[in-house]
Amino acid sequence: MALLPVPAGAQTAGPSDPVAWWVWPLTLFVAMVLLGMFTVVGGLGGGTIFVPLVSGFFPFHLDFVRAAGLMVALAGALAAGPELLRRNLADLRLALPVALVASASSIVGARIGLALPTHVVQLALGVIVIAIMLVMVAARRAEFPRVPAADALARALGIEGAYHEATIDRVVEWRVHRTWPALGLFVLIGLVAGMFGIGAGWANVPVLNLVMGAPLKIAAGTSVFLLSITDTSAAWVYLHSGAVMPMIVVPSVVGMMIGSRLGVRLLAAARPRTIRFVVVGVLLFAGVRAFLKGLGVWP
């Protein structure tokens, strides 16, 4: 088998980088370990902050960064999914209908994102990340939302459940309403996830919790599980479009997983409010950076 010293079409490649090849992947790995720790303690999925941060400060093209962002979110969700289902913290009947619309629209989002000029996507990414930051700051969460009655669609689909809430040592029975408006919102969530390669936990939880009325724990667990379905379809589009580079994906995924595990251990000792403040600050900084990069003001 012949190794190609200079692959066909190498005339399109960029100039040689004076920095050794391993510096950036190693820096990426270390950064992802730290990011994984902070995002777990700050209560944010790693995928959301990955794309603006890495596209802003690493030399990789946005196409590769978005694919890696999807893989980071996907790997985390796949790893957590089985335990969430077994512990009854993710609900299959709640997840499957919304996953269907979100995963279909994420394909459309991925196609749009890959077809648009890079600076336009970068600019829009800045706007969306700043909007996510605002949602994080402003959105209130209801631990046990009041749902007087399930709507007709939820009743027809049998979306309801009961789980043991350890903090109050009681069994919580839940049902959902406003299923149709929520499905509409999941179309938008899928579009954004596919277009920018960011996980959608930041949007899944508020919609499941505040719009549909699922208890916060069920909303959070189902949201993580949902990512394993939504991000899969978008990830395939990126993979088949040539945007998956293992040297970027693997250090990101492994680093984020190690960081998340360390972060879980830190949870007991850390001050979540302080960490959350730091995460929001980093999100704002990364969003502004992406926006200015898109404008060409801060290349």
Partner: protein
Amino acid sequence: MTAGGRPRAALREETLFAAVLGAGTLMSAVVLIAGFLAYVLGWVPPRVPIAELPRYWGLDAPGWLRAVGAEPGWGWLRLVAYGDFLSIIGIAMLGGVTLACYAAVLPMFLRKGDTAYAVIALLELAVLLLAASGLVVVRH
């Protein structure tokens, strides 16, 4: 919410979904890490020499495909003899785990006569198969 009653046990389809998800993810992770080690340790020669990668990771996806002589879609599969493309197998397997989960629970919904969820699972399978087919790619 209401309090009282008994917590619902995980449904049989949830248990099956979880089992396939867990096993598929573990297998994919092993293949991913093994493929990547074979690549970075030089056991399987890469298409693009690793030291040359910094010249390529600034290209967009179509530029990268042109540079390595790969076709969009499943074209990368023709290059799996090279370490950098061998590593993609584990990534593709991660993308296939959810497909396997849906394929596993669909017969269960059908046997239960749960038509709504059988249709939802079928439609989701169609969506995932469309994405995985390589028909939805962006060519510049």
